[in-house]
């Protein structure tokens, strides 16, 4: 019998759901609201500081994990929600959602890789 890929994608959905539940609200608040509105010092997101974070391998891992798991969580859930709205699950719709998450992850990985070579 062909093995199902469901455990892989469900684990990524679960891991992304847990990570975004633990730190998602704080990340959105800090990056998308507090810094642009000046609630915290705008220098926290200055180019040299963010660049240094993204050139450090721990920082790279943090960025990659956040972007990848948030995408896998969100797109997996979106694909099931579309089913609830009557867009029926087919291999194509499923592959599209998981595929977009994979593409996003690869783009993030590539961008982080180019930052290392630029340093």
């Amino acid at each position: 019998m062909k093995r199902s890929n469901k455990p892989i994608f469900w684990s990524l959905f679960g891991a992304g759901g847990m990570l975004s539940a633990l730190i998602g609200p704080m990340l959105v608040f800090l990056i998308a609201l507090a810094v642009p509105l000046g609630f915290v010092s705008k220098e926290t997101m200055d180019y040299p500081r963010v660049l240094a974070f993204a050139q450090n391998w721990v920082g790279k891992l943090v960025i990659l994990v956040v972007v990848a798991l948030f995408l896998f969580h969100g797109l997996h859930r979106l694909y099931h929600t579309l089913h609830d709205f009557g867009v029926h699950i087919g291999p194509g719709v499923k592959a599209l959602h998981h595929g977009l998450a994979i593409v996003g992850t690869l783009i993030a990985a590539y961008l982080l890789f180019t930052l290392r070579s630029a340093a």
């Binding site: 998602g24 998308a32 995408l71 009557g86 783009i107 961008l111």
Partner: protein, 130 residues
């Protein structure tokens, strides 16, 4: 192959019929906010790679009033995702036994919420000091 010509009960608008369904759909649609935020970060990373001017342009775009409004909605939905994630955790986790007794649902929800507060404070501390 032609599809059988049998009656299918229409499902359009099913979720508007009952408050429980509406809450379910709101919970599931929080995923859109999680995707939007991930894409915002991905764009930011792309602009970071392009250099200081591009990165500052990305930051300026985040400060536009309509983007702030969108991100307020994103924050509300991600926070709702976080709360509902821990709220259903007693159902999504296997039973946990401590000292021969099943850990009560309320304790699991509370542990999740406390973990989120601690993790968020760690993120805040690292963000401000690193």
């Amino acid at each position: 192959m032609s599809t059988p010509n049998t009656y299918t009960r229409p499902i359009a608008g099913w979720w508007r019929r009952n408050p429980f369904y509406r809450a379910y759909i709101l919970r599931e649609l929080t995923c859109v906010a999680v995707i939007v935020f991930a894409l915002e970060l991905l764009v930011g990373l792309w602009r970071l790679v392009q250099g200081p001017e591009a990165f500052d342009a990305w930051r300026a775009s985040l400060a536009q009033p309509w983007v702030i409004v969108v991100n307020c909605v994103v924050l509300a939905l991600v926070a709702w995702h976080a709360w509902t994630w821990f709220e259903v955790m007693p159902k999504t986790l296997p039973f946990i036994n401590l000292g021969g007794r099943r850990v009560p649902d309320r304790a699991i929800v509370a542990a999740g919420a406390i973990a989120a507060v601690v993790a968020s404070l760690v993120v805040l501390f690292l963000f401000l000091t690193l």
